[in-house]
Symmetry: C2
Subunit: 331 residues, 2 copies
Amino acid sequence: MLRPDHCLRFRSPPAITGVPVPAPTFFPALSPIAGPRRQLRGALRPLRARPALLIVRASASMDAAVARAPEMAQREVARALAAEAEARLGPRLLPSAVPADVAEFRNGAGNAVGSLGVRRGAPGSSIDFMMQSSLHCKVPNGAIDITSILIFLNASTDAPHFLMELIQGSPTSIVVVLDLLPRKDLALHPEYLQKYYENTQLDKQRGKIYELPQTRPYLSPSLFVRSAVSPTAISVSIDCGQGGESALEEIIRGQLAMVAKEVLQIWLDNCADSTTEMEETERMCLVKRDNTVRSKSIEVDLTANLPRMFDPDVSSRVIAEIRKAFGVQES
Amino acid sequence: MLRPDHCLRFRSPPAITGVPVPAPTFFPALSPIAGPRRQLRGALRPLRARPALLIVRASASMDAAVARAPEMAQREVARALAAEAEARLGPRLLPSAVPADVAEFRNGAGNAVGSLGVRRGAPGSSIDFMMQSSLHCKVPNGAIDITSILIFLNASTDAPHFLMELIQGSPTSIVVVLDLLPRKDLALHPEYLQKYYENTQLDKQRGKIYELPQTRPYLSPSLFVRSAVSPTAISVSIDCGQGGESALEEIIRGQLAMVAKEVLQIWLDNCADSTTEMEETERMCLVKRDNTVRSKSIEVDLTANLPRMFDPDVSSRVIAEIRKAFGVQES
């Protein structure tokens, strides 16, 4: 999805410092403080993330318009992952029904392009929707690339949703959020925690990313977001430092792709086919919780940020489709 | 409270590596993986925490028996904090009623001492209990010192509990857990999150600790524990490295003491005097959640670990008092 930091400013001088600004779309944008600062004796001081000021609706003096989002490792990995999910889910997903001018869209100045795909679950399926999105936005000195895959389940099951977001503001660093989003209060339902998070050994997958020396924890400035993710959530910035382009590419295509595939597999094996017998009060609570999480992420996210990257008519069209998928009413 | 890692072994050769084993008492013991490992070019490789094997019920060849827990910065800080809480809560706390042989207790071999104080809330008070505990255990090459303060509220309010635990296995490193433990599902109750965590600016306090270069996030291996803490929880290991004894002491007496005092103040101002109007179903849910959190921490914690540090008669006496305070039945 399409949601850079709310610190994005328009028509201001560009001043990009530190780790790129855009934050995971599903999660409200934030000053991307990517973890404890380190003073490292003799070592390279890691980039400290600060909100960046970016011109994203550029003047005509910008480079030639972007035709489409460039091929890069994050898009390949996301594409492969989405293909795997779609192959497994098969007829349980309806074809994408977004209008053509939302399936592919661009900024009038030509420096930003995006795509959105929304496949609703077929009748009787436990899938609510599968959403894929991609954004590429040229900025002075580089570009922002955001790719995301969300697979949300409906109220016929209480199993976790699937979420992956990759936000890259430079060739040498990326923010990764990969999680099975819980739909119940874990402290009240330890059996749910055990079923979906302990028995599946999800934390081992988390460990494989966190043990990479280039990672730092990425802590959302939004307390709500921190509350919404699971205790096994992967939320990191991976920074390979100056000259680390191929190192990052290797990580994205290697360890990250492998872990993302494993996490998706766990979700497909344990959640995608799940249905849950529920008392009516339980189901009402589940629906209420789902709606709170959806509306607080949508409303904080998209409505604040998407219009900053795209012209009003474009952003409102895209937002409308996303709201429709999430089932969140226009406020 | 008194709960080192479940990896403690008895009557095995000592082999202490890395960061000390004992884990926050309230939270189940674990292999203390204190955060992402770092390969730092030219810098000191940070200690990677691994479970340690310790002899804690020593043979007679150990050093002379410990008379009492030694004075050290963590105890001073905890003492000052407890005094502040008690002064403010005043007559809302009854005097401590633990038997003398639980108020102070020791290991038969003489290498471990502990103390426990439990003050119940006065009738009509929103305080359930205030618990303070201290443990000192000599081990080969050093000692383990654990100090904790818990102030739990009862069902007349849904405000968060107060928790601080300091676990120190060497003069140069310490694990700190400091939190206002939420009692409601934050994703379902964003207004609760806003009231107790956003409006109070608790995250600023967290930031003051996390910005210290010697800190690394401390992630409990217990997924339940990770789910039980708040999104503003301070959970860190602070490691000042070889020769860093006075640096650590300075941090404990300085930044840590200051932040702990601020967090306690926030709790005293916003939670301690709170009462909440609740529907009966809400109150039942609160009580059920409270009991789940209490029993899963007690049962995983104490019963596994306390007997490893103290003789059976001592540990069972102490456990019984703690269970009584928490209102958790003998299983």
